[in-house]
Symmetry: C2
Subunit: 251 residues, 2 copies
Amino acid sequence: MTYCVGMQIDKGLVLMSDTRTNSGVDNVSVFKKMHSWTVPGERIITVLTAGNLATTQAVIGLLEERNKAPGERLNTLFKAPTMFEVATQVGMLLRDTIAKTNAINQTTDGPTATTKFTASIIVAGQIKGMQPRLFLVYPEGNFIEASLETPFFQIGETKYGRPIILRGYERDMSFEDAVKLLMVSFDSTIRANLSVGPPLDLMVIEKDNFEALHSRRITPQDPYYLAVSAGWSEALKNAFHALPDYSLYSK
Amino acid sequence: MTYCVGMQIDKGLVLMSDTRTNSGVDNVSVFKKMHSWTVPGERIITVLTAGNLATTQAVIGLLEERNKAPGERLNTLFKAPTMFEVATQVGMLLRDTIAKTNAINQTTDGPTATTKFTASIIVAGQIKGMQPRLFLVYPEGNFIEASLETPFFQIGETKYGRPIILRGYERDMSFEDAVKLLMVSFDSTIRANLSVGPPLDLMVIEKDNFEALHSRRITPQDPYYLAVSAGWSEALKNAFHALPDYSLYSK
């Protein structure tokens, strides 16, 4: 499984992903699910991927045209005039990749997988002169954009970490608070589900600053991760004690 | 869907269930999923049900022998010498009910459903002279018992409300705190998933007190529910602010 979140706030975008992939519980690996491309001062585009790893790696490779010889490569993402066009291209590549793999898989000559080679992708970024934007791209290739009412997208193992985001999110929050929120959401998920695991990748995209801020890998030994994880237990306990006792409300 | 939790603490058992059942999003009803039987001073047995409603209602009916004429009824649960035997009986009835419905469903004469008539049941209670016990009964009829390491069971839509229980649970907590914990777990689930909804049913089984304590239905207008729901937003916000800022940990 996987857990990735893209969150839009007034100040920009905050992105986090885990790195655990597994094929059964006895085949667990670490793979990066956050990929980012920057043209300094002009654009920054980051994608978060969930789903079949061969599929998502193929899409990333195609976006960078890694199926061409080094000299002929021209990253597709650098040409798109808008983030909408970026999402459209990612969607088409995702759809085509899935369709191709499934078609090959259905020929009777080779081994056939029982898995469906599906995947979802969060696309986040900003191109100069336009607003930061956040999209969720479906395996079918179509996509939706974050809005005031739904300002964040989760992919992968989304349920454990959802309530805290629903509760904690505020449009005008600081990057500091947004990162705390995501750290707690990820910590909650990691504690509940073995298929999501550290290290985590964090990235902050500040509006009109076309570079990745606070881009870092958070290991289980990361002092910040440990401080949040330990601090959250304590903070939650205090939060509980602040709630009223039910006996006060009994008849 | 459904959400039910049975939790064992040193002082006894705390049980909570929602009441929403749905067959599609356009067919939503309210049904009680918590059923309890008491022999004052001797035993209290409570079951929480999740899954196909016709199946769980049939099991409850059979436990009370509602397929017999009123004069011949003798509640099966009143005869079992131990809670283990109670769980065994519930398991056999659940398994038989599912098997029977599926067998009928596979005959070619009538309409056939695409649904599987599956269900899970949490069995909680105490019989005089023995400890309070908590079981999770599977559709196959077998069951597991709560332990020091896994002191609570959830059935239905379990993921949203799980992290807070994992974090907040303490074996020696008071009933007050245990109820707070479940209220927050249910509130988190209800906010995230339409298929779980109020009113909620609450019951506390105090050790060696063979009657249902604080047994009540919590409506969305319940002052305690409103106080917890509102208080939790505030408490979480304070909890966030108590966490360290990531910039303090950046290189």
